[in-house]
Amino acid sequence: MVNRRGFIKVSCTGVAGLVVARHGMHSVAAQSPQTSVYPIVDIAPLSSIARGAAIPFSYPDERSPALLLRVNEPAAAGVGPNNEIVAYSTLCTHKGCPVSYKPERKLFICPCHWSTFDPVKSGTLVIGQASEALPQINLRVLAGMVQAQGVSGLIYGRYTNIV
């Protein structure tokens, strides 16, 4: 069981190791010369991600809600068939309210001040009052498994993504 301290320790020392996260997912802290390293976390088997899928998960730790989407067109930094699979932190980069994905709009919308983000264009702010794109979770596919392996952008509420 990894607690928050555990993550800090791993990230600060750069020590690689196998850690078992909650919900039965396993994550591996990859070796890195940096002071901080991102864990590698299984999200879902590629074969299970149908068109239109929206799968909630947490990354890089359990206090950081994220959403994996399979949109119906190629997306920037997407993986899988036709590069249609992307994932984003779901904390709005304006003031941290939880954004929700509206498939009929193809948009993330924040209920607090209505910032909207485009999952096909790296989470760019379509309109609204945030001053950062929605942080995109970097994905890869390994042995049929879609995995999270990093984050582009700073997650709301943090000064560094690994805390």
Partner: protein
Amino acid sequence: MATVPLPPPDAQRFNTVCQFCIVGCGYQVYKWPLGRDGGPAPADNALGVDYRQPLPALSDWISPLMHSQITGRDGRRYNVVIVPDHTCAVNEGLASVRGGGLAQTLYSPERPTKARLSEPLIAVGDTHTPLGWDQATDLGARVIKAVVDRWGADAVGMKFYDHGGGGGGFENNWAIGRFFFSGLGTRTASIHNRPAYNSEIHAAGDAGLAALTNAYLDAQLADTIVIVGANPYETQSNYYLTHMIPNLNGATLKRKRAMFGAEAVERARMIIIDPRRTMTVATAEAAGGKDRVLHLQIEPGADIALLNAIARVVLERRWHDVAFIRERTEWQTFESYQRSTLAVDRPLQEVVNEAARVAGVPASQIRQAAQWIAAPKRDGARRRTLLHYEKGLIWGLKNYENIAALVDLGLLSGNVGKPGTGVSRLGGHQEAYVRPPYPGGRPALNVDEAVRRGEVKCYWIGGCNPVLTTLRAEAMEAALRERGAVVREVLLQTQGKPVGERVTRIVEALKAGGMFILTQDIYMTASARYAHLVLPAAQWGEMNLTSINGERRLRLYQRFMDPPGAAIPDWMIMARFARRLRALYLQDRNPLKANRFLDFDWKGDEDVFIHARYQFKGDGSDAMEGYAGVTYDLLRRLGNNGIQTPTQIVNGVPVGSVRLHEDGRFFTASGRARFIPAPQPWPGYAAQVTRQRARYPFWVNNGRSNHIWQTLYHHQLIPFYSEHNPMPFLEIHAQDAKRLGVASGDLVELSNDVGKVRALAYLSDAVKPGHTFMIFGQPRGAVGDLVSDHVDPTTTIPYYKGAWAAIRRISGAPEIAKTVSFLPQNVAQ
């Protein structure tokens, strides 16, 4: 990995106010040397925030754009973090998309802001080369003097900002006004966004109303909020989100009950008069429900007809405020208003139907708007309605009557000077007007025309960019280029020659149709490229400055860093030129002229602030900007909540004004407000405009948008913003796009009898078929290139919103459009 450094507990801390829009949100600046970052424990950072845990929603989070690094003149490097101030009553800790990036606008030799002007430049051939301040001032002052001595002061034209916020402030405005009006005495003056030196709301002034009558608090208290020709979600964002939205969704009900006791209160309703279904309409509906939001999607030029028809319904139903009209207005103006404007001799039905036809809205909506504005509440109490307007009305078909129609509606319904009411501009930039009186008359001289006709021999452009923002912009650019080229040639030929000889040759060039151009700015703008002398100015954060926001809240924006190189505040530039002109006139043994340039010996920002302060009396008679009795020290103590102007001196102490006209007095000779008669049903289009409409199929509405500030002078250098707006976008309805074979992202060309311009197509249901909307003043395409030179003859205010053009597809999406999302910008749920 993305990180932001945390300010250490001993970081330097400054109060400031956002440099951008009228709302004037409070911000805190933290500055500390590189390598001395704070830590995540609350005791280890200056914010006192526990960053060991992810912060909960609505905390003081530092987004990456809120941090940047700067280098001082001493070569030392610092981290700077600029975060919204949760103690400020204006924004309560919210940043907007623009304010969130303030830290990116700071000068740094390592970021794109290194493009800042850092030394005076003189034109040499097609480029510019540095020269020192003394030389630049000497040459410029000698040319100005030669022009004044030969052609008179009116041959010196000026186009300067008159605003607050970034690049403005009371300090700079006072020095500019002193130089041009008390010093030179020129009448050939114009304001940053228009071709003359005039009020944009003469009709409100004639009625006796201030431009900004209400407090932002009133938007929390109103029963109905009316928004005419404005889009506050995008362009007055935190006023809208912090004060209007909580009233729409009921969060201010408690406050209303506390204020109004037994009076019936409920969630606010909102009426939005706008040709577009904007994000404001979408978010108002999301917050308040569709049944409490009325969007009148008006046709261009129909404001007068629509507003007067609403007023006519109010009168007919006897919903007008008889007591207010009797006690607070000049009765005879009310009588003529009823006859001329409200057409009481015509049947109501006929007037309403006519307005509905002209405005393209159902008659039922006109009646409903009247009800929401003025019908008594369920307990019989008067409805409290806050009426706001901005450029859709100001830059509409007929400036004077447009404003008159709305002001009259406010007076008719008694909605001014009481909590929850007001008749106010929503505003664009912040305000800070304090100048000696403009020596010209009204209607003011059209300076654009004087430049084109050759009457202006020397043209000084300060902190604005007419090549991108004026009407008939291509013709203005041609005048700067062609008339400027004559002088450029002489500057090249006389390089290295004594200054006296150069000035003699320049005057010859001016006689031959040339024009000497000075620009002072922070960047080499499209207009500055044509200047012969380019003077580098300091910006926000590089000097202390003071301004008021949309509720007249006066604050001190503290200096926290050095300007680049030899750049200095605008007031200092004016003082340099004034002192040089004084010396030159003394050499001429002309003390009369020399003494016009006395009293420019200010030592610091506050000296100018205090000098200007003596324009105000503090006895209740001052204009809305009046800040009698205020000092920097007082403002430092008041922090980001400041004091609301005008101040009155009570027992030797300045006391602010929450709202104006609360005492029932107006700025007229009688002290009573005046109804301003306007023609009905509406005046129709001017001849140029009628011709354009007949020839070209698309109306090109235009204005500002959420992400970017004005001409993008900063934002084009910051990828977060420039990637969103690499070119001007053109909203166009899907039906029209289909007919033209245009898809979102395509490059299109708009053209008409005035000029042409390119834009990126943005398919949108915000606009009706036949309507389009383009952002104005984008560096890669100025809508002014399509705007005719028609101005309201009463006020010299252009009909910027009135351009019609043909549209054709040029190509598919250009490379720079790849970063742009073309998802709809008016969706909130």
